[in-house]
Amino acid sequence: MHDFAYHRPQSLEDAANFLRTAEDPLLMAGGQTMIPTLKQRLAAPSDVIDLAEVPGLVMIDVKKAQVSVGAMLTHASVASSPEVQAALPALAGLAGNIGDMHVRNRGTLGGSIANNDPAADYPAALIGLGATVHTSKRQIAADDFFTALFETALAGDEIVTSVDFPVPELAAYMKFDHPASRYAVVGVFIAKFGTDVRAAVTGAGPCVYREAQMEEALTRDFSPSALADMTISPDGMNTDLYAGPEYRANLVKIMATRAVEAALKGGG
């Protein structure tokens, strides 16, 4: 690690100011991705801005039609919140299956989506539920937020403050986790809002995406059998030390089918 100045701003405004004025600033949430990148020398910031004491970022607000989660809420807190479990079990379940216990105790919603790892779980929930991201500057629809591999619509001095998740009629998330990191080799989030169905896929491609043919088929018939004859093309899918495109394409279909089954059973 190289030397850097460490700041712990007490307001969102101060945090944003550091982002604007420091030479090479980097925000820190739980440090779960950020500290390893420092250790591997992939980043050498001049200033680290810890969001731990910025007020208002650790909140959960559960309403009938919407669950709002603060950017600094840890995965463990989301997973164990009785309100989230009741209103949106698919989201609580997703958070509870991220990484391991240590990662869940430190890792945050804001850090996860700002990082936009192609194998991260939360992006699937944001896309699958059609969420809205609130930042220090504006609101961004999830569909516009995740732009490319490790890229988001966030400006350099923009801070995620919270995410609003609409509560669907039915939803479930299923992932096949990497045996070591527990990141999604493939994860599929399925949600049904009345006649509207969303199917978000993470892990398979360079960035989370919606699988249109699945959404169409499930809109017609929200049942596992609706996906039975579907072929998922492996073109453009990720390959890594663990699995190649064909294996991932197969998983997309299997995880989607299982997510539909789980959603029909009440989600999770």
Binding site: H2, D100, F176, H178, P179, A180, S181, L241, Y242, A243, G244, Y247, N250, L251, I254
Partner: protein, 754 residues
């Protein structure tokens, strides 16, 4: 005493003496020592799998402020190119030195080429970046079968295969050939009704110790060397450093730190001589610690292998002949465990006709190091898979087939000697009768069984038992405590002395405080060092009996020792009030001085261990994912001195074996460089990956040990590979022969049906 006795401390679950410090974080591991003025040492490593070193320019690094010394290969003594033995180990110091710091060629990605010592870690890093190495990249070879091909790139231009008659005239990557067995294979196979032939592959697996290698080394102005490090043997470190650096053993003192796992991987050294060279030049102590990436790239995993097995049996299940050819990756220099692999392959079976041939093959990878039961998990995996398939072909129960052909007392082992009393049949019987074996299986589930055999070894050990005047005792032994050995030493000493366990304090002594001990390996510590502790305690008891005899004015032979007291042996000896250990110790100043029991032995009579494992798995037919549902491990340990640590050893071995079977593998790119250098990509199982591992301890005592000990630590990593592969094969109906059984591989097998 006596192997069948009822014991007060042996076999009890006492609290381990090192437990509190390890739980509270007070225990000092290798990286925890520091000295005033200490420098940080770091190593520059080859980025190439195979290359000629054309030049190394360290001048810029040397000029950097804060850099105190820089060393490269030529700064280390050149040593004769021959293998010599030290205790239970054999080593070629010319090769060892070249592995520590490359001379003319780098032989694998991660091979050290230079090292620096500087006042801070950041300066040391900067210095490494200033060293210019010019390489001429050479073609490399990673896979063992590729390396054996006639046109393969050669690692060592002059290497002629040893063990082939007549000796080959051309150099190759095959360092040596070994052969074991007896009987008439042709006749054996002719008598068979069923013959199965298969080829198996396994990947290298890392020992995965949590504590990376580390050392603090101080070379003083008068040349005296002090080394703090964690290893499997402080005397191994001393012997190796003395020979590599050409100084007297008496000038080196190695102080063993606590060890955060070794599993065989710390029976070799990587940093200590480099730190010695750096410290000697700088005139200051040097600390070196590896990163996990360095551990993965440049310390020894066990060999990857390629193995052919041929097995014949009559239709009623009598095995008629077994044959295997084993090809093991040695890494960059000779030294794979193919020998033990070839010796153990068929050892659980009584075969009249058996032959195993092994090849030790160099490849552009880090040197293979020992890993629990070196060589055996792979060869026994191959054989146990074929045994399972044979049972299927014959329509027999797999344990019944094993029982019918089980090696037992009097059976000639495939590697030569006749077995004495062994627990192989007892393990099979216990497995067969275990409720696990008859529990019903659900859909997509499969059950696998496999046996395992390991020699266990003895070797040289020294122990002393100091009796304190307050009636307590300190036990000194010379083996690092890797799996709870302090607790076992204390229990055995307490048993012999007849005092309470918590009155005995076991100490792991440094190389200048106790005589020579072979390292902790081969499952020898509780057997051999335990025997030394028993003998030393008995020596102390004899001295105390002699003192009581003097007080009572009777012959020492008329004094017996029981429950911590000297007592007249029977009515003829006279009528005296028994004297306790504390009574005798209190008066030691008047009775001839301190009481110290000593033993220095080369322990003979190590007795083999056998185990049988049962595992149930469920395979997800749509993804190929395997869930381990239930695991039962049965093992003959001779005597469980401390059952908790015996169970811990068994469970740990199973966990590592399951990882080897299902997940762990080294992934090399086309450039010959390792791609998964950390635990995020190299998956070892964690608690949540495994069910509770049930253990069944069988005790067929080893008569050579005072309490019957055989050794525990190595057998349990052997059966899991075969057991898991058999279970998966049975669940999906396709024989799986290529480890690890990753989900993509299993899914492909399900789809292709082969």
């Amino acid at each position: 005493m006596g192997v069948d006795g009822n014991y007060k401390w042996v076999g009890k679950r006492t609290v381990r003496p090192d437990g509190t410090d390890k739980v509270t974080g007070r225990a000092l591991f290798s990286a925890d020592s520091s000295m005033p003025g200490m420098l940080i040492g770091k190593i520059l490593r080859s980025p190439h799998a195979h290359a000629k070193i054309k030049s190394i320019d360290t001048s810029k690094a040397e000029k950097l402020a804060g850099v105190k010394s820089v060393v490269i290969g030529k700064d280390f003594p050149n040593l004769p190119n021959k293998t010599i033995s030290i205790g239970i180990l054999a080593a070629n110091f010319s090769e060892m030195s070249d592995k520590l710091m490359a001379r003319k060629k780098v032989l694998y990605d991660g091979h050290p080429v230079a090292a620096v010592a500087a006042t801070t870690s950041a300066i040391a890093d900067k210095a490494l970046s200033l060293i210019k190495v010019e390489y001429q990249v050479l073609p490399h070879v990673i896979d063992v079968d590729e390396a054996m091909k006639p046109k393969a790139p050669l690692l060592h231009k002059k290497m002629i295969t040893v063990g082939v008659d007549p000796a080959p005239t051309k150099a190759s990557n095959v360092a040596s050939r070994c052969e074991f067995g007896f009987g008439d294979l042709e006749a054996g196979f002719a008598a068979a009704d069923v013959i199965i032939e298969r080829t198996f592959k396994t990947k290298p697996a890392h020992q995965g110790y949590l504590e990376p290698h580390g050392a603090v080394v101080s070379v003083a102005e008068d040349g005296q060397v002090t080394i703090w490090c964690s290893s499997q043997g402080q005397f191994m470190v001393r012997s190796y450093c003395a020979r590599l650096m050409q100084i007297d053993e008496a000038q080196i003192r190695v102080i063993p730190a606590e060890i955060g796992g070794g599993f065989g991987g710390k029976t070799v050294i990587y940093l200590e001589p480099v730190a010695m060279a750096l410290s000697g030049r700088a005139g200051k102590p040097v600390k070196m610690t590896m990163t996990r990436e360095e551990v993965m790239r440049a310390t020894g995993p066990t060999s990857g292998t390629s193995i052919d097995v041929k097995l014949g049996a009559t239709k009623d299940g009598k095995l008629t002949a077994g044959e295997a050819e084993l090809r093991y990756q040695a890494g960059c220099y000779p030294g794979s465990p193919v020998g033990p692999g070839a010796m153990t392959a068929f050892a659980p079976y009584n075969l009249e006709n058996v032959k195993t041939v092994g090849f030790d093959v160099v490849v552009n990878r880090p040197q293979a190091a020992a890993y629990r039961a070196p060589g055996a998990p792979m060869s026994e995996f191959a054989v146990e898979s074929v045994i399972d398939e044979m049972a299927q072909k014959l329509g027999m129960d797999p344990i019944a087939l094993r029982e019918l052909n089980a090696a037992k007392e009097g059976t000639t082992a495939p590697y030569g000697p006749k077995f004495g009393p062994i627990g192989n049949e007892q393990c099979l019987e216990a497995a067969k009768n275990h409720p696990h074996y008859s529990a019903p299986l659900g859909p997509n589930q499969g059950r696998g069984v496999a046996s395992g055999f390991w020699f266990n070894v003895g070797g040289e050990s020294v122990a002393s038992v100091n009796i304190n005047t307050d009636g307590t005792a300190v036990v000194l032994s010379g083996n690092p405590d890797i799996g709870g050995s302090r607790a076992s030493m204390a229990a055995m000493a307490a048993e012999v002395l007849g005092i309470d366990y918590d009155k005995v304090r076991p100490i792991v002594a440094d190389t200048s405080s106790i005589g020579y001990n072979d390292l902790t390996g081969g499952s020898r510590t509780t057997f051999a060092s335990g025997m030394a502790v028993c003998n030393a305690a008995t020596d102390a008891v004899d001295q105390m009996r002699t003192r009581a005899a003097k007080v009572w004015d009777i012959s020492p032979d008329a004094v017996e020792w029981s429950e911590g007291h000297a007592r007249p042996a029977g009515p003829n000896a006279g009528d005296f009030e028994p004297m306790s250990l504390a009574d005798i110790a209190r008066t030691s100043a008047k009775m001839g001085g301190p009481i110290t029991g000593r033993a220095a032995i080369n322990a003979q009579g190590a007795a083999p261990g056998f185990g049988t494992h049962i595992v149930d798995v469920e395979v997800d037919p749509e993804t190929g994912h395997v869930t381990v549902l239930r695991y039962t491990a049965v093992q003959d340990v001779g005597r469980a001195i401390h059952p908790s640590y015996v169970e811990g050893q068994i469970q740990g071995g199973v966990a590592q074996g399951v990882g080897w079977a299902l997940n762990e593998e080294y992934v090399y790119g086309d450039d010959g460089c390792l791609q998964n250098t950390g635990f995020l990509d190299y998956r070892m199982p964690v608690a949540s990956d495994l069910p509770m591992i049930d253990t069944v301890i069988i005790e067929v005592p080893n008569e050579a040990h005072p309490f019957g000990v055989r050794g525990v630590g190595e057998v349990p990593i052997i059966p899991p590979l075969g057991a898991v592969a058999n279970a998966v094969s049975n669940a999906i109906g396709v024989r799986m022969t290529d480890l690890p059984l990753s989900p993509p591989k299993i899914l492909a097998a399900i789809k292709n049906g082969s």
